[in-house]
């Protein structure tokens, strides 16, 4: 082992003690001094670097727990709801695909032929359904706006500080 390798290990003590290290240190005055000095530095530096917070800070931290608002991950508490939501989303996706492409008989794989693809879509039941769909635009805007405002004041929204001050439920 070289002095560089020996000192690298002596300073970091990372991994198992290398074979031949002790023999090298025993026969090398520089590495013997290095080993003694790094051990001494550990003893001196550790208690200075690892410090206990002053009492007033400890009291401030204890008070934080009682005064700070708590954010609870709703999704983590309701894993079953998440599974149900994904199942509903998957079912809706399948239904949408079925409506767009029509019955399975009318479905044919189209690669690169845009004309045929457009023709299939135009003859699917979805077009008929969408053309007769009545969209309640005012209702859509109202509920979207309400959702947006709720998000702004939610724990992940930009106005969460305001909701904290007002004491709104998280």
């Amino acid at each position: 082992m070289s002095c560089v390798d020996v000192r690298e290990w002596l300073a970091t003590r990372d991994g198992p003690r290398p074979v031949g290290l002790d023999e090298h240190v025993a026969g090398c005055a520089g590495c013997t001094a290095y080993a003694a000095r790094t051990a001494e530095i550990d003893v001196l530096a550790r208690p200075v670097l690892l410090v206990t917070p002053p009492l007033d800070l400890q009291l401030r931290l204890a008070a934080l727990v009682q005064t700070q608002p708590v954010y609870v991950p709703v999704a983590a508490e309701w894993p079953l709801l998440g599974v149900i939501a994904w199942a509903i989303a998957a079912a809706l996706g399948a239904l949408a695909a079925w409506q767009i492409f029509g019955w399975l008989q009318s479905f044919s794989l189209v690669v690169g032929d845009v004309g045929v693809a457009v023709q299939i879509v135009l003859t699917s039941p979805a077009v008929l359904y969408l053309s007769e769909l009545q969209v309640d635009l005012s209702g859509l805007v109202l509920w979207s706006g309400l959702g947006l405002v709720a998000w702004l004041f939610s724990p992940s929204g930009p106005l969460r500080d305001v909701s904290e001050r007002l004491g709104l439920p998280a």
Binding site: V4, R7, T12, G30, A33, R37, V48, L50, L57
Partner: protein, 210 residues
């Protein structure tokens, strides 16, 4: 460093204030040590510790367990302290005070160990074998002479059970850079504790050597 149990973290995430209190109490020494190490000023370190725990309470629900909890918390604390140092660097407050390096890569102007060994081996010199100044105040002063990256790496290195991989994650540095900071930090500390900042020895020279 005691890694809190998974159950304790989970209870705290679910809003159990007693669990949060226990979690904070188990970590306050380590968080404060990191803050003192980076800030060097106990009053500022106390503010940064409080700020770090406020951020912890706000973002605890975002912890997903991809890393150890302590690694995540110490990384958060380090970022809070680096933000604090950046604020300190503003021109209004920096008058008369030397700028602090925010780069955790640290100064890399020292020769590599192999280079130094080729030129000379300082560990063979008589003063390197002499006793060190051992008072806590002197050790603290010497530690404050190290660059922030070396000091932070050493601090984390002295946390029990902290692996080098964890330290690298906390500091956002490659593993070998972290090891280099620790080795150089100890070597510099040794030189500083033998001699003062002006290069003269901190002790009376041995009559036999003069």
């Amino acid at each position: 460093m005691a890694e809190p149990s998974y159950e304790l973290v989970l209870r705290a995430q679910r809003g159990d204030r007693a669990a949060m209190g226990a979690l904070m109490q188990s970590q306050q020494n380590y968080v404060y040590s990191i803050a003192v190490s980076v800030m060097k000023d106990p009053a500022e370190a106390a503010d940064m510790t409080q700020e770090a725990f406020i951020r912890l309470l706000r973002s605890l629900h975002t912890y997903r367990g991809e890393t150890k909890f302590t690694t995540w918390l110490y990384r958060l604390t380090t970022n809070v302290c680096l933000d604090g140092l950046r604020r300190r660097r503003t021109p209004a407050s920096a008058g008369g005070r030397p700028f602090v390096s925010l780069d955790l890569e640290g100064d890399d102007d020292e020769a590599t160990p192999r280079d130094r060994l080729v030129d000379e081996d300082p560990w063979g010199r008589p003063e390197e074998g002499s006793a060190l100044r051992e008072s806590a105040a002197e050790v603290r002063r010497a530690l404050y002479e190290l660059n922030p990256a070396q000091r932070l790496a050493l601090t984390l290195h002295y946390f029990d059970d902290m692996r080098y991989e964890d330290i690298a994650q906390v500091m956002g540095l490659p593993l070998n850079t972290v090891k280099s900071h620790i080795r150089r930090g100890k070597e510099r500390l040794s030189r500083l504790l033998v001699r003062d900042g002006n290069g003269s020895t901190g002790r009376e020279p041995c009559p036999a050597l003069t």
